[in-house]
């Protein structure tokens, strides 16, 4: 892509990044220590952190390696489902209450093989392991046969759609359309305990902060530069002796694991996991968040996710009719005026609308 506009001054980028990271850290402190916050707000902050983490994970592969996944909801869902299974097992173990899912699935008890997930470390390892394994297998096969660009996007979309159809089936055995709900306790504490919401939200914000810093360090290092090189010209990089398959696979798996962590943190805060998170629309929306904030800057993904979801939360309750128009307008606006996201505002000159592009052979790259 001969997209010079993509290149921001580094100083500006650094400033934005530090600002966003500081804001996340500050929010974590406020959520954890400020007593006057309503549970609702705490919960919103925690959810926004999860969405931001999810957007961050997509930014790693789309923004840096130029691989657009329209199926990232799959990894988010893996994290969510595993923690859901853990919470159900945990609820049975601590309260003895039979969850709804047992009854409407027509079971006698939760399936035996869920048993080990009662331990949180096992669940954590399982969530990360499964998302890693799925990402590895799919990524290895796809990258090896050099499926890329728009094709990769379409195939990942089909993949998440397949997963959604599967999970909607009752016979698949994860609660079908209802999914899992009715979680009672977490780490032994009932969900109603005021500290639980705060703890979850603060943890999410801290994990987001840690992920931001870690990804930043990784991306300004050699690995990050090689990823950018892959995005700019993969053939060139390969003919310089780099196995781009490994690079892409590495960042793809990393991104999948981050998305799974986001799901892991998200589900206890909303109290339900069902196949809806596997809908192609959600996965598309993750890309929208990144695009609105600005790709390939980490901070942009966080800003985009927080902005879009905060607007969504407030508008869908106060002006439900308006919300879809606002979102559509925002995306079109960004696509036309800030081709690289709202972070471009810093260097925006009033040309109003970008001029028509001229397509060159070989330009068909993200």
């Amino acid at each position: 892509m001969t997209d010079k506009a993509h290149i921001l001054s580094r100083a500006f980028e650094d400033r934005i990044f530090v600002g966003v990271a500081a804001a996340v850290a500050l929010a974590a402190v406020v959520v954890a220590l400020f007593p006057g916050l309503s549970g609702y707000r705490v919960n919103i902050a925690g959810q926004l952190a999860c969405f931001a983490l999810l957007a961050l994970s997509l930014d790693l592969i789309w923004g840096y390696a130029g691989i657009l996944s329209l199926g990232h909801g799959l990894f988010f869902a893996i994290g969510g489902y595993v923690i859901g299974m853990h919470l159900l097992e945990h609820a049975v173990a601590t309260t003895g209450v039979t969850p709804d899912i047992v009854q409407f699935m027509g079971w006698k008890a939760l399936p035996d093989w869920w048993g080990p997930l009662e331990s949180f470390p096992v669940a954590l390892v399982a969530a990360l392991g499964v998302s890693f394994a799925v990402a590895f297998v799919f990524g290895w096969v796809s990258f090896r046969s050099r499926v890329g660009g728009v094709y990769f996007a379409i195939i990942t979309q089909a993949l998440v759609y397949v997963a959604m159809l599967l999970m909607f089936r009752n016979d698949t055995g994860f609660g079908g359309n209802n999914g899992m709900t009715g979680f009672q306790t977490i780490f032994g504490a009932p969900f109603q305990t005021p500290g639980v919401a705060k703890g979850l939200a603060a943890t999410s914000l801290l994990v987001l902060f840690a992920a931001l810093v870690a990804c930043r360090l990784l991306m300004i290092g050699r690995f990050g530069r090689l990823l950018v090189a892959t995005r700019d010209d993969e053939t060139r990089l390969r003919s310089l002796g780099y196995e781009t398959l490994r690079l892409k696979l590495g960042v793809w798996c990393l991104s999948a694991v981050l998305a799974a962590i986001a799901g892991l943190l998200y589900v206890p805060q909303v109290g339900i996991i069902n196949p809806r998170v596997l809908s192609p629309e959600l996965s598309l929306e993750i890309a929208v968040w990144c695009a609105i904030g600005g790709r390939g800057r980490l901070a942009g993904a966080v800003i985009g996710a927080v902005l879009v979801n905060a607007i969504k939360f407030s508008l869908s309750a106060t002006m439900p009719e308006l919300w879809p128009f606002v979102l559509a307008g925002l995306v079109i606006l960004v696509a036309l005026i800030f081709p690289n996201g709202l972070l471009d505002i810093g260097r925006w000159r009033p040309t109003w609308i970008s001029r028509p592009d001229v397509l060159q052979p070989g330009d068909a790259k993200p």
Binding site: G149, P280, P339, P356, D357
Partner: protein, 535 residues
């Protein structure tokens, strides 16, 4: 089913026996019964069916009118009971003009509805004015022939003037004798039934294996076995035809939904996520055409689908051109941004339609020529609306092919698809070609919407159902080849229909999508890739 029919038949026969001596129908009594509770309505229907064979032609006509009125709820049980008609109410018993048209209409219970339908058909068989009417009545009776008195058909055949129809009536009468005490009549009934074989007749004929004669009478046994074998063979063929037809009809929908996408994607490498919404717009424009015709030229209403074709194409192509000129054109170097922008456009269109028109399913008049279907053989039904979609898809395919191969625009499109830079150097206005191609692709999507009107629900959400499927078809076929899209649609449609009865609809979809994903790992460029140097 059979037990129910037998019971009904028993009642019919019993009453037929009682009513046999009377040559005229006791109109007043029957009307009173028809205005009674469910039980007495059953008796009214039985009396009508039993009586028509011996009644006068006038009485038979009255019986047809009365049972029709009961079915259509134009029978008003006031005092006296009348039949409401647009020309004015008539007395239910005498059919003389009546003054009042008050009274409630009894609602046919599930059980009584088929009885009255039978009564109406039997009466029409005797009193129908045209041969067509009587033929239709006979077809209606065919399925329930076993529950009717055999002499009904004999009498009807006697009275029938048309030789062909007379033959048919006798045939049906023969088939009705499957449970006749006379073995030879049973055998001829078996032979008769085995000719027009469907699953119901298999049940009937196979049921004769429990007949005592099956064990004793060799000829009867042979007839039953031969009948069963012949029906089973025909069923196998008709099942295969059904599967083919279903697959073809699904494939035609897939093709319609993805043809436009294939052109746009192939030419510009642009993913148009608003393609489904173009389909939706096409359907809404079709609706608008229908409403305009309804107001302006009601005579043409039956042909609104045909009238709408050019209008729908031009309207959606116009929207496509507008979208290309205002948005897509500015994003050509960033295909993934186009993806998001067109997604936003689709969101916008859906919500504009939702707010502007509403969320309800649109009501389409089903044209008389497209309603229902025709039982071709055995269990194989050709439904007209699906046939319309298949024919429409085939016509679209031919026309698109002609446009691409035989017109200057098509030549330009192919040139730009293959080498944009070179085409530009040769003086082709690539920008203009892009716009026209985008218009063509959008117009095709609009036509898909039109073809879907008689099959699917038309509402603002309908477009989203097609996105994943149509993308997979385009990618599987190989970008930029119409032939690939056709083959991929046919393959996906057929495989889906083959798997569905085995593992269910969800699993079929899942398996097909996974197969496509796996196939694309093996051949990332699809079935019919335009090969060239790797960039």
């Amino acid at each position: 089913m059979t037990r129910f029919i037998r019971k009904a038949a028993a009642i019919v026969l019993a009453i037929a026996f009682m009513a046999a001596p009377a040559l005229a129908l006791d109109r007043a009594a029957i009307v009173a019964q028809a205005c009674g509770g469910p039980g007495s309505m059953t008796e009214a229907a039985a009396a009508l069916t039993a009586g028509v064979a011996t009644a006068s032609k006038d009485d038979a006509a009255w019986a047809a009118t009365l049972s029709g009125a009961a079915i259509e709820r134009t029978l008003k049980c006031g005092s006296p009971p009348v039949i409401a008609a647009p020309a004015g109410a008539r007395d239910a018993a005498t059919l003389a003009p009546a003054t009042s048209a008050d009274g409630t209409s009894p609602l046919l219970s599930l059980k009584n509805r088929p009885l009255f339908e039978t009564a109406r058909a039997a009466a029409t068989l005797f009193s129908g004015v045209t041969q067509g009417e009587r033929g239709a009545a006979l077809s209606a009776l065919e399925r329930r022939a076993g529950s009717l008195p055999p002499e009904l058909f004999e009498k009807a055949a006697d009275a029938e003037t048309d030789v062909g129809l007379k033959e048919r009536i006798l045939g049906v009468g023969q088939a009705a004798l499957l449970n006749s005490p006379d073995v030879s009549k049973r055998i001829s009934a078996i032979e008769r039934i085995s000719v027009s074989a469907d699953r119901r007749s298999l049940t009937q004929v196979a049921g004769l294996k429990t007949d005592p004669a099956y064990a004793t009478d060799q000829a009867f046994k042979a007839a039953v076995d031969a009948g069963v074998a012949s029906i089973e063979r025909r069923l196998q063929i008709s099942n295969a035809l059904n599967t083919l037809y279903n697959g073809l009809s699904f494939a035609s929908i897939l093709f319609m939904a993805s043809a436009g996408l294939a052109i746009i994607f192939g030419l510009m490498g642009v993913i148009n996520l608003a393609q489904g919404e173009f389909i939706m717009i096409g359907a809404y424009v079709t609706y608008a055409v229908q409403e305009v015709l309804r107001a302006a030229a009601p005579d043409l209403l039956d042909w609104y689908l045909i009238v709408a074709i050019p209008i729908v194409f031009l309207a959606t192509a116009g929207v496509g051109v507008f979208l290309e000129a205002t948005l897509v054109r500015r994003l050509y170097t960033r295909p993934l941004m186009t993806l998001l922008a067109t997604w936003a456009v689709s969101l916008l269109i859906v919500n504009l339609v939702r707010v502007g028109v509403g969320t309800q399913n649109l009501q389409f008049v089903t044209p008389s020529w497209m309603s229902g279907g025709h039982l071709l053989m055995g269990d194989f039904i050709v439904t007209w609306n699906r046939l319309f979609a298949i024919v429409f898809a085939a016509a679209t395919l031919v026309l698109t092919w002609v446009v691409l191969k035989r017109t200057p625009l098509g030549l330009n499109i192919r040139a730009v698809t293959q080498n944009r830079a070179m085409a530009g150097c040769l003086g082709i206005a690539t920008r203009r070609v892009d716009m026209m191609a985008f218009g063509l692709g959008s117009g095709l999507a609009g036509l898909a919407g039109l073809a879907l009107c008689p099959i699917y629900n038309v509402n603002p959400q309908m477009g989203s159902n097609f996105i994943v499927d149509s993308f997979m078809v385009v990618v599987l076929g190989g970008v930029g080849t119409l032939a690939g899209t056709v083959i991929a649609s046919l393959g996906v449609g057929q495989i889906n229909v083959l798997i569905e009865p085995l593992y269910g609809a969800v699993a079929a979809k899942v398996i097909v999508l996974l197969m496509i994903i796996a196939f694309l790992q093996w051949r990332p460029d699809g079935l019919f890739a335009v090969k060239g140097r790797r960039k």
